[in-house]
Amino acid sequence: MNKFWIAVFVLPAVLLFSSVYAVSLVILITTSFTNFTAGGGGNFIGLSNYIQLLKPGSEFLQVIKNNIVWVLLQTTLHICLGVVIAFILARNKWYKDVVRTIYMLPNIIPNAALGMLFLFILNPKFGMVNSAIRFITGNKSFMQNWFMEPKTAFGALTITWLPYAGITVILVMSEMTSVSRSLYEAAIIDGASEFQTNIYIILPLMRNIIGTATILAASNMLQKLDIILLTTSGGPGVRTTNMPMSIYRTALIENNYGLANAQGIILILLGLLSVIIIRRLYRMNENNF
């Protein structure tokens, strides 16, 4: 009887998942082998879409490279920054609440608003950054177009998300609160300094939560779209185009759904690969002790 009721309660969720995700995934996979466009088509064309995307010299390879670089930056620098700040805030000094709130702000502002904010901050004419540089250097003709200059576009866009590790800070801090006081006391008795305690005792205990934060950071980088659309639209050229941006353009500008869906499959595979690598690196299935 219990099994029956478990099935009844689970059924709606299974139905929802099947209709929203499973069916979509099957459609995505099958149409990626077709020439399906917004106006019709849908004939089987084998691996043509994948060959077109992955042939040497293809723009999509540059797009994949951009995405991988962003994932690497986000899973290393971004996470390190978040962990360091979490450890500093965990000292429970007077600035803890203020800094945590301020640092969290960029993570709760909608990406659309954040994009507009950076468009103004980095505007060549009246932006805060150029104004400050003009003031400091005295060079009144300084008009750097940060988002459109090919040499600075990638960096300017990266700066709109890389430093704001509020989610990592919160996750790590909450995990730190679950560490037994006895561990800290034992470390003190053994004569360990605060730095040694953090590095040799607390940090290893944070392995699983840092791994979780890393997976979140990587998947976030594989989903970014709105802020890119608002700031650089993927340009100049494809210098700031990531895979979601490329899918958006292929599907809604080029109207080539078959090719866009093939890109979607590659994106999913890259996401799965990222999760597998991160879980192995952080040995997330193993116990701390």
């Binding site: 009721w5 009844v8 309660f9 059924l11 709606p12 466009t37 917004a38 106006g39 019709g40 505007n123 060549p124 004419k125 008009m143 177009n145 988002f147 459109m148 200059e149 090919p150 040499k151 576009a153 650089t232 639209s233 993927g234 340009g235 100049p236 050229g237 494809v238 353009r249 809604l252 500008i253 080029e254 109207n255 759904y257």
Partner: protein
């Protein structure tokens, strides 16, 4: 008791889920324009007005929003007892285009919609768009106001007409007479003179051109297209060809070289990557001497929220060098209604492209009427002389051509915002730029 409660709760949850689904399937959403199969156009009681779905991006701060509101109110006044418009408002051109393209993929476009930016072609491909020529031929009064020019402009090679224009677009460029006078120049007759005018304006301390390369690079591409279209007969032919697949021509390459210099040396510093509103703001605040745009912008010049006081009096209108101007008809509205509400949707299409709408959009947004059947009142001529000048100058133009937005594939238009920065910063040459446009067009 516990067990009974569990059972009751489970039954309630499952029933709620099932019934919610059924309810959604039965009731139409008043704001959802998606036709629901045979339900489209049906009213639930069978005796009320017939529904016609319509999607619009002319809302909010859009220059044509006031005209759209008047038009819709008048339609309701005249036909409200028989036809109920189910309107979906979309907040920008981009959102509208993306939504309609998605609906086209599932054969669920609204009954009446603007076929801009390739939407018409998709509706033809998926079989939803109706050939409007028979309906037009059957209604001489409507045909009189649409006019032969707009009909021929939208006619396909096989003699079908899938859209009806709602306005004629004549586009030159606006210039600030005070700035021109201080720089000691007059509107250029040749492109060499145009470039030397820009240098003179710069030397006089003004930003010569207000431009923007973001979105569809509208203001920048108007200059580019005029350079191509007025260069010679070959260039003019290219700018009057629908969906060209080759941009590797001397006229395009030469025009791109000039655009590189304009965007690098003679435009507002944030032209690269910025959107149309930026360029418009720069010009309306008298921070630049020239902007390429159409008569619909005239209303902004007298709007104190957008322009400095008295700006309209200090502005002139000029043809592009070589006596050239854009002259084209909007792709216009397409009809995707099913048989069940075809008559009502057609009634709305006729109203939307007919004399009342044309006059309303002329008076509220400076959209030029399709034919001279809509006469301009003396009051209007006095109030908006810049709009009238468009019509006068178009009659004197030696070269006329269409905008890139109308002729080129959407993927080509989208390429400009990525390629202009590369060109200006020397990452690609004008030849490579033209080649990339050709590749984008050839992929379609």
């Amino acid at each position: 008791m516990k067990r009974f409660l569990s059972m009751a709760m489970a039954v309630v949850i499952v029933l709620a889920l099932v019934l919610t689904g059924c309810n959604n399937a039965r009731s139409g959403n008043a704001t959802d324009p998606t036709p629901k199969g045979n339900e489209t156009g049906q009213n639930t009681s069978g005796s009320g007005p017939v529904q016609v779905t319509y999607a619009t991006f002319r809302v909010g701060a859009h220059v044509q929003a006031p005209g759209e509101k008047i038009m819709l109110e008048e339609f309701k006044k005249q036909y409200g007892d028989k036809i109920e418009l189910v309107i979906e408002e979309l907040p920008s051109d981009d959102v509208y285009i993306n939504k309609m393209k998605t609906l086209a993929a599932s054969n669920s476009l609204p009954d009446v919609l603007d076929g801009k930016n390739g939407i018409r072609e998709l509706a033809v491909q998926n079989g939803q768009a109706r050939d409007l020529l028979p309906y037009l031929e059957a209604d001489p009064e409507w045909k009189k106001y649409v006019g032969e020019g707009a009909i021929n402009a939208n006619m396909t090679e096989d003699g079908k007409l899938y859209s009806i224009s709602y306005s004629r677009r004549i586009i030159g460029y606006f210039y600030n007479k005070d700035m021109f006078e201080k720089a000691g120049i007059t509107p250029a007759k040749t492109w060499d003179e145009f470039m030397s005018n820009l240098e003179a304006l710069k030397e006089a301390g003004f930003t010569p051109i207000a431009a923007a390369t973001g979105e569809n690079a509208w203001t920048a591409n108007l200059i580019l297209g005029a350079m191509i279209g007025s260069a010679n007969d070959e260039g003019n032919k290219l700018m009057n060809t629908m969906r060209p697949t080759n941009y590797n021509t001397p006229e395009v390459i030469n025009a791109l070289e000039m655009m590189k210099k304009i965007l690098k040396d003679y435009s507002n510093p944030d032209a690269l990557g910025s959107i149309y509103a930026n360029a418009a703001n720069v010009f309306c605040q008298e921070q630049a001497a020239i902007i390429a745009n159409g008569p619909w912008m005239v209303g902004d010049f007298t709007n104190p929220e957008k322009s400095v006081e008295g700006l309209a009096d200090r502005l002139g209108l000029a043809m592009y060098p070589n006596d050239s101007m854009y002259s084209e008809f909007d792709p216009g509205f397409i009809l995707c209604a099913k048989d069940s509400n075809l008559e009502e949707a057609l009634t709305f299409l006729k109203f939307r492209t007919g004399p009342f709408s044309q006059r309303t959009f002329l008076e509220t947004a400076g959209s030029l009427p399709l034919t001279d059947q809509i006469e301009l009142s003396e009051e209007f001529k006095k109030e908006k002389p810049l709009v009238v000048q468009h019509i006068e100058l178009a009659g004197q133009a030696k070269y006329t051509f269409k905008t890139l937005d109308v002729t080129a594939y959407p993927i080509v238009i989208d390429s400009f915002q990525q390629l202009y920065p590369e060109l200006v910063f020397g990452e690609i040459t004008a030849e490579e730029f033209a080649q990339k446009l050709t590749e984008a067009a050839s992929s379609q």
